[in-house]
Homo-oligomer: 335 residues x 2
């Protein structure tokens, strides 16, 4: 069995910088493009820094054609800044982080009310807003507690394209269905795991991410929405590499590295549920329609021949452990 995907897109990707960028960027090369998150240290807040980062990504990608949809860290930019960003090649959207909620998000926005002017301008200018939607509450409630903010944003700015990034709950799906101007990304791991996989047996740092994996009912609802071809749900891996030594130590950093195996695993899952026909929309079609994207043409064929996931990926003095390290996935990319 085979399926050929037309320009698959990863709508939420962390490529980091420096040697880690050099290691992981080529591992996303089966995608036609990706939305690149700006939470470097310091975060990417200005078009100049964004262009330079884009250039470093292109160099790390080598000869692999790849559409970079660059994002800027939302910091209540003014009209002039928004206009400059919008006129900058590769710019795609602003990413809003509630302050301090995830890796390198300390500079995020603490109170949304202060950002109303910027959001109004973005709505008028047609600039998408991508949101890491978590409160500062109890870890299992953070996304649910943030839904009121999404609701308020969706109501107050009806023409603003708002993406609920890496949703993890059934409640977020319910909200998604309420507002046409909301869309959402979901990761590979949140279609598969629950908190049980992170902390139900022995502690599994390589499955620890933010937002944390939730309950079985949440996972099942997300999977069902993806398999059924929900028109405003897009694949965004949130593939988030950390050095092995930081993942396997006390105070393990949050993030699951899935970029090199995401498409084979998605094909395995969709095939197992008889839903391969929905994969194209999930990994490309919905994003292209929602955002009006025209990624570079790239066809990727997946086949039900096993892929051996390496125990780690190493290069440039960096080492990253992927999800399913040392295991087999029953689908693979046909080279």
């Amino acid at each position: 069995m085979e399926i050929t995907l037309d320009s698959p897109l990863d709508m939420h990707l962390h490529l980091r910088d420096g040697d880690m960028l050099k290691l992981v960027a080529p591992l996303s090369g089966d995608f036609a493009g990706a939305v690149i998150m700006p939470n470097l240290v310091p975060p990417v807040t200005e078009p100049g820094g964004m262009l330079a980062y884009n250039q470093r990504i292109r160099e790390a990608m080598g000869n692999t054609p790849f559409s970079c949809y660059m994002t800027l860290f939302f910091t209540k930019q003014n009209e002039q800044q928004l206009a400059l960003a919008q006129s900058t090649p590769s710019f795609f959207a602003y990413k809003l982080y509630p302050a301090g909620i995830t890796t390198n998000s300390e500079g995020g926005v603490a109170r949304l009310a202060e950002a109303e002017n910027t959001l109004k301008l973005m709505e008028e200018m047609g600039i998408p807003l991508l949101v890491h939607g978590e409160s500062h509450g109890f870890v299992m409630d953070r996304e649910a507690e943030f839904l009121g903010v999404y609701r308020q944003l969706a109501q107050q700015f009806p023409k603003l394209r708002i993406c609920m990034e890496h949703i993890t709950t059934a409640a977020a799906l319910d909200l998604l269905d309420e507002f046409e101007n909301l869309c959402a990304t979901v990761t590979l791991q949140h279609l598969i795991i629950t908190l049980d996989d992170v902390a139900g047996g022995a502690l599994q740092p390589h499955l620890f991410c933010k937002p944390i994996a939730k309950r079985p009912g949440d996972r099942d609802a997300l999977l069902q929405a993806a398999l059924s071809g929900h028109p405003r749900l897009m694949f965004g891996s949130d593939s988030a590499p950390h050095p092995r030594c930081k993942k396997e130590a006390c105070g393990c950093a949050a993030g699951v590295f899935t970029a090199p195996l995401a498409l084979p695993k998605l094909a395995e899952i969709f095939a197992r549920h008889g839903a391969l026909c929905q994969l194209q929309s999930f990994v490309s079609g919905n994003a292209r329609r929602i955002y009006g994207l025209t990624p570079l043409a790239k066809q990727v064929t997946l086949q039900n021949t096993p892929m051996a996931v390496p125990g780690s990926y190493r290069s440039y003095g960096q080492q990253v452990v992927p999800m399913y390290a040392g295991e087999h996935i029953s689908w693979s990319i046909k080279s």
Copy 2:
């Protein structure tokens, strides 16, 4: 400020075996005694093995007087086995583990219905039943899902003394109040932490234990019950040492090591809430009344002078990291 405790007891303690036993046993020496859990590899199921284990504990304790309340791993023992256990010095109770639910519990009981005869005999003979009360369900629901089993046990065996070990939820406290034949232990960490402390920021393996820390409302209810002198709630540290290398690696083992700092930290907490007068009942009085224990006489004075918690305890080639490693506790033991 000072408080002198009369024969403090740790009603749930893991001392392990071998070199780890030699390291950790003396670190419980401020207590007058403890209930010693039987989940070694293989578990302690027979009085002979229990006596030998008791002897190894006594040797590890050196010259420190200490009352060992030994337990046997519940395996549907018959009348002859129960009688032999009851006549064996130091025997205290049976510990029931649902199969496979925690460290070294693979040999536990899978279906309670099969154990009815043994439980009826224990009720008649006055042998307490200590229970690790978790289902095999979703990690945050395991204790709540097991409460029906406690309810059934409490109703079916009204004279059986049933201890809900290391409770972690407000729901367990509610059940405790319903049945006079139920009692419960609670750990130090479950009076203090929630899942946020384990996985809400960076992952903290040294705070990872089973049952896993729950929600803020659960923690608050447990603390309030302890501070208010709940008559059937007892301190049981569940202090569960693992080698540092096993706690700080992928697949971190469950358990928090608190034995050497439990009394100072409890004094700090009870003093902060103006409840020092309840500490004696919590760490000794309730257990002595509920089980009719007469531990050896040992007075321990706690003072509000800081204790520096070491980064780790090392000896006999073993290294264990305690809760609050490298931090200060504002109370200490007066030597």
